[in-house]
Symmetry: C2
Subunit: 269 residues, 2 copies
């Protein structure tokens, strides 16, 4: 494929199929490790990493390098490989490592492909729920073999019965934006801390009205962008904070719920 | 069995086996209904009820009346039957109906048996996770065929890495105790709104350090008491509010985490 041409839908679908095969292998690793024991330790940023994170990322990196030796790979644990390629696979081998460590079954593996910095394939695999969400540009968003089409709320009267996802307050402490977390908790009694890719996946299939998640990295955000947009939802990256320009502060989900969340962010009481 | 004797362990285990059979049947109903459509509507208290709640409760009531025609039954949706019996089965057919309505996979069925007002059997079944937690007095707490023994945190230094469950702020609004919710959110950055029996189950198997849940009914609380105590955890019912004397305000989980939560409740800053 010439790199100066846009990707064909068939090409993108083929990359999506590769991504699905890789996360399926990742799921086998996770299942095997969950059945036994694994060790967790803290990284310099105080977040946890486990043997499982490392094994899954190494597996996916190896497979991508074997299948697409010219593609770049960027993972949470092992950094960047071939960063000059227009194709970049981004990996969060275990998104929700604190949950994995505590055996809370709401963690997952995220894999996305960026072409010229635009996400074109996104996969979220939740091993303990037996669910895989996947999307490719132009080919729709799917949960397994079921097409996902987000239904917006008809009007604002539906908002109180929408559950809205939000990450741990800890995430907003790190981002220096506890004001956002605290204000939203007061304004919507059904805010729930469905953290990590579990919350993202529930927003993709409309179980959540929307989700707001701050201080993410590209490997946490890219898959969600493809999934939400292909499902017909709205994905908004807020202007990055000047001191943390690489971080993603996101609001995504049903358009009217996203709009309501955006209106709460200006701080007006 | 003579009603003036304490129950034997064998008798309690037999009741537990019956309970497991009934929630398994309930799981089949839920799976069938989830594969299709069901209707949800609001009850006078503004909470949701669905066809699934009603079908599951009717099924369990019918089965109990057939097997133990002298036992009482108290369910969330259909009220009390034979309330004079020393044996009372309490049912929450779908705990987490808002989640079920929104197809958030964190709802479940709760069934417990009280003998002279003391819970002796408790079962929580989470159909979308494929998990069933069960306990009988003197026979331990189990997740499926795996015995559960709660490991306490060794000391307070472990607290920051413990995830603590809490119900929606909505629940604390109803209970008139938003002060508790808001204070805990500020004091522990890993409070998560893992509502309903999903949070209870995670506290039982030690994935959560503890859970705090307010404004419950007996059918939400009784199974948890047996499960937590048989797993070696601590279960505390706070003194009921004078205006809502039948409601249960609970703190349960690993003893040191429960103790920490109790110390936060006095309102001292």
């Amino acid at each position: 494929m010439k790199e100066d041409l846009p990707l064909s839908r068939d090409a993108v679908s083929a990359y999506r199929d590769t991504a699905l095969r890789l996360v399926s292998e990742a799921g086998d690793v996770v299942a095997r490790r969950l059945a036994g024991s694994f060790s967790a330790r803290k990284k310099p940023d105080k977040s946890f990493v486990t043997d499982v994170d490392l094994e899954v990322e190494q597996l996916i990196r190896d497979r991508i390098s074997a299948v697409y030796p010219e593609h770049g790979v960027l993972g949470e644990e092992y950094g960047a490989l071939r960063p000059e390629s227009p194709f970049q696979w981004v990996i969060d081998p275990i998104d929700g490592t604190l949950s994995l460590r505590n055996r809370i079954p709401l963690f997952g593996t995220i894999l996305a492909l960026l072409y010229r910095n635009e996400p074109v394939v996104g996969v979220i695999m939740l091993p303990e729920l037996g669910r895989t969400y996947h999307a490719a540009r132009g080919a729709g968003a799917w949960r397994g073999s079921e097409r996902i089409v987000i239904q917006d709320v008809p009007d604002e009267s539906g908002l109180p019965d929408e559950v809205i996802g939000i990450s741990d307050r800890h995430q907003f402490i790190v981002a220096g934006r506890t004001d956002v977390f605290d204000r939203l908790m007061l304004r919507h009694p059904r805010m729930r801390t469905y953290t990590d890719c579990f919350g993202h996946a529930l927003a993709v299939d409309g179980s959540l009205g929307a989700m707001i998640d701050f201080d993410l990295n590209v490997w946490d955000a890219a898959a969600t962008q493809v999934l939400i947009e292909e499902a017909g939802g709205r994905y908004v990256r807020l202007p990055p904070d000047a001191e943390r320009p690489a971080k993603y502060n996101l609001v995504f989900g049903k358009p009217r719920v996203v709009q309501w969340l955006l209106e709460q962010l200006d701080g007006k009481e």
